[in-house]
């Protein structure tokens, strides 16, 4: 078995050294965010400022990167979350991860602070740090054009240099968007990391792997979700259904429906703006939209950006959203956190609680706001701190739409209560994907499930959180998990008896789902095409991977991340949502249109094997092979 090789790089003095991940850690955590969380916990003391030189930034791949497995180009960045103070992991589908591996490293562990603006150059097993003052202020596109073409690049824009708390890092046109990875790079005077090499990934069973990959690609292409709707509409296709289900956040999450939703829907985007679809390296799904902005062919907005720069700001100008999306990518900012923070600041301003120079009702002014935030300039520059810090200064915590400090994604959870639980419990804060993405079952997917009942939601949330965590650790795109929903259901349709029964059956399975983790991984000692990921990992790495072990990697990772959060001072009280979502019904005449978090959280903790305060029990940690915090 070939073990992952990492490099520890001290940016302060330019020294670096190679280290190999032990076989035990590799088997337990694979790579990506799971291994990142373990390493970050082990390598840093509690209480560091995430933007201090002592803070550690891990940029790593998973074992599947560069293997040619479907949708396996996703690499990861792990660090102390700039918005929440807890764990952060941010994922990106750009070419950097693949080139890092070709350069001979599975991951980089960066600490210290370069004396001047610099870049790390990784090439054929060697690393050097080069000052790059000439790149100062360049946007993410310009800088990538300036750097030599053959390298895989991971760069920041002006927002990262200015340590905007939700600054992202970009590779190609893809970004590691959430939690402030760009700010951490900026705090280290690190403008770019570039990598080049020719190393090939050696697979344990090349023939078996190729055959499995062919079968899997065929399956993805045949599946109605990954073979048709994602390539056809991308995630943007969700706007119409989200609106119909009341989960399209509108006017800072005061409502879940927007009267002009059709102006910003995926269908309108496809009919009027779409040039073609595209995608990350080695992806047969190709969910990316290409649109024209000012005559230029650029990456189009995802559903999140459409929802949060559109209805949530009562903006129905699709051209403007496309341009805002592009500007944010150039400046290097997460569209979710930025748009969420603008919506909150607008409400503060309308209520006379603060003045950020915003112009409600004049969406065109948002282009100016976005620049001001990236440059921390003028009254709007204060938005660079994010909603949580703004609410601590100006008030309005009940309508600051974040969890733990990370702004919520574009699903209004009062009409998708399991998604609400996911937001509240996600280790990195208000993230739909890290939260288990129950909206797909409750509101926007093919299965017809009762979206308001709290019953069964904790069990399903844990299941999907763990599954997605494992996929991410290996380097797979989370969208591959959506093909786990049997394709046959799409033939019947959501209104059919079959899809309605499927929703009921999943909720009814809660006694089983609540016990399953006690028997993992032994309960699923197999591999099958329902979860093709595990066999793919086994064939590529030689690890004795099964579906049970795969899900256990996810559970282990979730627990390590939780322990990190607890160590950094987060508590049960941080598993929360703003009162607007838990106390004010979305539909005034339907009292159940709130997120019943108090009912779901205790069950969630129990299913996870945590105590009533949300602390993983020693028994659970031992079961997962995680050292108890006091054992170090």
């Amino acid at each position: 078995m070939i073990l992952p090789v990492y490099a520890q790089v001290d940016l302060t003095n330019g020294r670096w050294r190679k280290c190999t991940i032990s076989a035990k850690l590799f088997e337990q955590y694979l790579g990506g965010k799971a291994l990142g969380a373990r390493l970050l916990t082990d390598l840093t003391p509690a209480g560091l400022d995430p933007l201090s030189p002592e803070a550690v930034l891990i940029v790593n791949t998973g074992p599947m990167n560069d293997t040619g497995a479907p949708s396996s180009s996703r690499f990861n960045m792990t660090f102390k979350n700039v918005l929440t103070g807890g764990i952060a992991s941010s994922n990106c589908g750009g070419p950097f991860g693949m080139l890092l591996k070709k350069a001979g490293f599975d991951g980089l562990i960066l600490c210290g602070k370069a004396p001047e603006l610099s870049m790390v150059v990784v090439e054929d097993g060697k690393i050097r740090i080069e000052p790059c003052p000439q790149l100062q202020g360049l946007d993410t596109e310009r800088i990538q054009e300036e750097l030599p073409e053959r390298y895989g690049k991971l760069v920041i824009g002006p927002a990262g240099e200015n340590q905007v708390r939700f600054a992202c890092a970009a590779s190609g046109e893809r970004v590691a968007g959430r939690c402030g990875a760009g700010a951490v790079m900026g705090s280290k005077n690190l403008k770019a990391i570039i990598a080049f090499g020719t190393r090939e990934v050696v697979k344990a069973n090349p023939e078996g792997f190729e055959a499995h990959t062919r079968k899997w690609v065929k399956q993805l292409k045949k599946h109605p979700m990954t073979g048709d709707s994602l390539p056809r509409y991308g995630s943007a296709g969700l706007v119409s259904k989200a609106n119909a289900s009341g989960v399209l956040p509108t006017r800072n999450f005061t409502r879940g429906r927007y009267e002009h939703y059709e102006d910003v829907s995926g269908e309108t985007l496809a009919d009027t703006k779409l040039l073609r679809n595209s995608g990350c390296v080695s992806c047969p799904i190709r969910c990316e939209r290409r649109v024209k902005v000012k005559g230029k062919d650029v990456k189009g907005p995802e559903y999140e950006t459409l929802g949060l720069f559109g209805p949530n700001l009562e903006n129905n100008n699709l051209d403007l959203i496309n341009e805002l999306n592009y500007r944010c990518d150039l400046l290097g900012m997460d569209t979710i956190s930025l748009a969420g923070t603008i919506a909150f600041a607008m409400e503060l301003q309308e209520k006379g609680m603060g003045d950020f120079g915003l112009k409600p009702g004049q969406p065109e002014d948002l282009l100016r706001v976005v620049e001001d935030v990236a440059c921390r300039r003028g009254p709007a520059g204060e938005l660079a701190e994010g909603s949580k810090i703004l609410s601590e200064k100006y008030g309005g915590a009940d309508f600051a739409i974040h969890s733990k400090g990370l702004e919520l994604a574009s699903y209004e959870p009062r009409k998708s209560v399991g998604m609400g639980l996911g937001y509240a419990t996600a280790n990195r804060g208000g993230c739909h994907l890290n939260g288990g993405y129950l909206a797909l079952l409750e509101s926007v997917g093919v299965i017809s499930m009762d979206a308001q009942t709290p019953k069964g939601k904790p069990e399903l949330t844990v299941f999907f959180q763990n599954g997605m965590e494992a996929a991410s650790a290996a380097g797979f795109c989370l969208f591959t998990m959506q093909a786990m929903i049997p394709g046959i259901l799409f033939k019947f349709g959501p209104a059919s008896f079959v899809c309605r029964a499927a929703g009921k059956a999943m909720l009814a399975a809660r006694p089983l789902l609540s016990q399953i983790w006690k028997c993992m991984p032994w309960i699923m000692p197999i591999n099958c095409m329902l979860v093709p990921h595990s066999k793919s990992i086994a064939l590529a790495t030689g690890l004795p991977m099964t579906i049970g072990k795969f899900f256990t990697v996810g559970e282990r990772s979730y627990n390590v991340e939780r322990l990190y959060n607890l160590r950094e001072g987060l508590t049960r009280a941080d598993d929360a949502l703003p009162e607007r979502l838990t106390k004010t019904p979305q539909e005034p005449d339907q009292p159940d249109t709130v997120v019943p978090l108090d009912q779901m959280l205790p069950v969630y903790y129990k299913v996870r094997g945590w105590d009533a305060h949300g602390v993983p029990t020693a028994k659970r940690l031992r079961h997962l092979g995680i050292p108890l915090p006091e054992e170090g």
Binding site: S240, E267, A495
Partner: protein, 82 residues
């Protein structure tokens, strides 16, 4: 007559975004779609999210969900993402 609105590819197949159709349940509206726009449109409509007066038919009585005279019935493609 219920107002029926088509989203996505279904609008291309039926050649319109919205039309009035006769039918007191979702199933009867689907029959009308088959009659007027053919089997392919019917198949796609049946596989769509069907929203009757802002409520998902999947959460109501499925294809037996009633549609009133002034109901708005929407057919929205099932999409993925996140």
């Amino acid at each position: 007559m219920a107002q029926v609105r088509y989203h996505g590819h279904l609008a291309d197949l039926t050649g319109c975004r919205q039309e009035a159709l006769e039918g007191t349940t979702v199933a009867k509206l689907l029959d009308q779609i088959k009659r007027q726009h053919g089997a392919e449109a019917y198949r796609l409509a049946k596989r769509s999210h069907i929203i009757v007066d802002r409520r998902s038919a999947g959460a109501e009585k499925g294809f037996r969900t009633p549609a009133g005279l002034d109901s708005l019935v929407e057919f929205i493609p099932v999409c993925g993402g996140g």
